[in-house]
Amino acid sequence: MIEIHQLSKKYKGAEGFSVENLDLRVEDQEIFGLLGPNGAGKTTLISILSSLLRPTSGSFSINGLTFQENKNELKQLIGIVPQEYALYPTLTAFENLSYFGSMYGLQGNALRSLIGEHLEILGLTRFANKRLSTFSGGMKRRVNLIASILHSPKILFLDEPTVGVDVQSKNVIIDHLKQLNKEGATIIYTSHHLNEAENFCSRVAIIDKGKIITKGVPADLVSAQENAYNLEDVFLTITGKALRDHA
């Protein structure tokens, strides 16, 4: 379970808060979607929850643990799939996975067998010994996912895990994530693909300007909004149609 209390983050030199006084509770084994336009604060929130960023104020705990007191325990408990590929392009898929798996204390046959299983499920077995630099975007995304789940994390943070990939890769990734969720993993997920989120998430929160505007079960959000037929309608009604470019 993740509990967030009055969490805020303001970057040095920024005019406003990227995340502002945010309260949220994510239950065990939920698939929770964080949706919002560019610059809404989704990645900032995920980065704080995965120990990559220090919050300006507020607090959070994961399964009752905090990074200040239980850093290594928490790191073993969570898995992070970053938006970037975060892999060594000159290493093969197997070498990348073997290295990152080792960092979680996995080794020997157990590690090799885990890598083999995940590669098989995500359709990459025959590419195991090819260098990452030769992979397509979809293949890299799948290896990126495996590198984060080899240690069977209880909580999985995914920052746009399907961005820029083909439909087939997207399906394989989503199916695998659903399987992990069935096996007990709690998933926190950000995406711009609202249809994907509607089908995939048990609950979603729409964030804008660092604040949660609304949250709930996707179907409930759709039915609660007048003239909305899907989550995208709800999203556009709440966040507006103006472009959200930022630099």
Binding site: I48, S50, S51, L52, L53, R54, F67, Q68, K71, N72, K75, Q76, I78, I80, P82, E84, Y85, A86, L87, Y88, P89, T90, L91, E95, S98, Y99, F100, S102, M103, Y104, G105, Q107, R131, A147, S148
Partner: protein, 422 residues
């Protein structure tokens, strides 16, 4: 331990996949040491084995100019070319056609003879051996000067060695003139030598010995350690680039979320890059021992010194890796790390005495030199190579190198912790 070994293995694989990086790490230092030794060895031979053409304008045409000619010819260093006038010689030298022109003034021999005669007569008169004491106001001889013109591009070391040589030659000529004058005044025949004009005091260089054999330094003994050290420190460039790449690729971000501490990450890099330094050093020694003699360079003598040489190389490698880790931790882009790393190594090398010996630097630079890890490393290598030092004698230098590694690594860890604290 397993995480450390996995980190080290990953570094080995990453390095092995970077052909350009390997070329820089292993081939370029070898090219560097061969090139520098060839240049330095040939310039050494030029001074000793070939003759430098110089111009001489002889306005004296007397015994002194004859002695100068004889002295210069017998040195075998110069090829003497006579020039008609001072202006012509000056023009040729200042244009860079010749390195040096020597202009001997008119009536130098006569003037010197007169001056010596008067002085000798004066001394003998003091002892009552002369009828008349020459008065102080008697005809004074105008001081004569031999003019030297150097090509403005001539190295200062060459200029000073020529000046010293000529100064010595002039002193000898004056001394011999004095002896001759005494002989004449005493009335002895010139052929009967009553004064021994050979130098009484001579000097001999005593060099360090090992097993009763003199250790004679050559250009290989000087160049290989200096440039090996330079190459070892150049490791900071690929190492810091490797670390910056991890940041830009996102792999460092992933590592920060993994249950692994920064010490382990740096430890893996340290093991591999110190290993690379030692392999580099081995190649350099092999080149010095086996390749140098086959291309006409003096052989690098490593007999009995190998273990201590590797001790110094390992500690120098640690210091270099420590610096690379710090640079890689602090730098945000390759544009920051690569030029800074390369330039900083050159500065450290200059301060360390790789190009110009520390003892001829200004006092302030000598003080700064004491802070350069390259200076400690170079002294360690010279102690082993040229001074036949024992392990205990190189202990201060290797301790400083180790301390430097510890300090730079601690700074890296603290910097990383502060920057990424949650």
């Amino acid at each position: 331990m397993h995480k450390l070994l996995a980190s080290a293995y990953k570094e080995v694989v990453l390095l092995s996949r970077d052909i350009g990086g390997i070329a820089i790490l292993f081939i370029m230092p070898l090219v560097l040491v061969i090139t520098i030794t060839l240049i330095q060895d040939s310039s050494f031979k030029t001074i000793n084995n070939t003759q430098i053409p110089i111009l001489i304008v002889d306005n004296d045409r007397g015994s002194v100019s004859e002695s100068i000619f004889e002295g210069l010819t017998s040195s075998n260093t110069f090829e003497i070319i006579k020039s008609a006038s001072e202006e012509e010689a000056k023009g040729a030298v200042f244009k860079g056609d010749y390195q040096l022109a020597i202009v001997i003034p008119k009536t130098l021999s006569d003037a010197l003879q007169k001056k010596v005669d008067r002085n000798v007569e004066g001394i003998l008169a003091q002892f009552g051996l002369e009828d008349e004491v020459p008065s102080a106001s008697a005809e004074r001889t105008t001081q004569k000067e031999i003019r030297l013109y150097f090509d403005p591009a001539t190295q200062i070391t060459f200029k000073s060695s020529v000046k010293n040589g000529i100064d010595k030659m002039i002193s000898q000529i004056e001394t011999q003139s004095i002896y001759k004058a005494f002989q004449q005044q005493i009335g002895e025949e010139e052929d009967t030598a009553i004064f021994e004009t050979d130098s009484f005091i001579s000097f001999k260089e005593i060099v360090p010995t090992k097993d009763d054999q003199d250790i004679l330094p050559n250009s290989a003994q000087h160049n290989v350690p200096a440039w090996a050290l330079f190459a070892i420190f150049f490791i900071i460039v690929p190492l810091s680039i490797n670390m910056v790449k991890e940041k830009t690729q996102g792999t460092f971000v992933r590592l920060r979320t993994n249950p692994v501490n920064y010490v382990t990450v740096l430890g893996g890099k340290t093991i591999v890059y110190v290993g690379v330094c030692l392999i580099q050093f081995t190649f350099m020694l092999l080149v010095g021992v086996y390749l140098f003699p086959s291309i006409g360079l003096p052989k690098l003598d490593i007999s009995g010194r190998l273990p201590l040489l590797f001790v110094v190389a390992a500690f120098a490698g640690l210091a270099a890796v420590g610096l690379g880790l710090l640079l890689g931790t602090v730098a945000k882009t390759q544009e920051q790390s690569a030029p800074f790393g390369a330039t900083f190594v050159v500065i450290l090398a200059a301060l360390g005495g790789v190009w110009v010996p520390v003892f001829i630097m200004p006092k302030f630079m000598q003080l700064l030199s004491n802070l350069s890890p390259m200076n400690w490393g170079l002294n360690g290598f010279y102690d082993v190579f040229l001074r036949n030092a024992s392990f205990w004698e190189i202990l201060p230098e290797i301790s400083l190198l180790l301390l430097f590694f510890i300090i730079t690594t601690i700074i890296s860890i603290v910097y990383n912790e502060r920057k990424n604290a949650v």
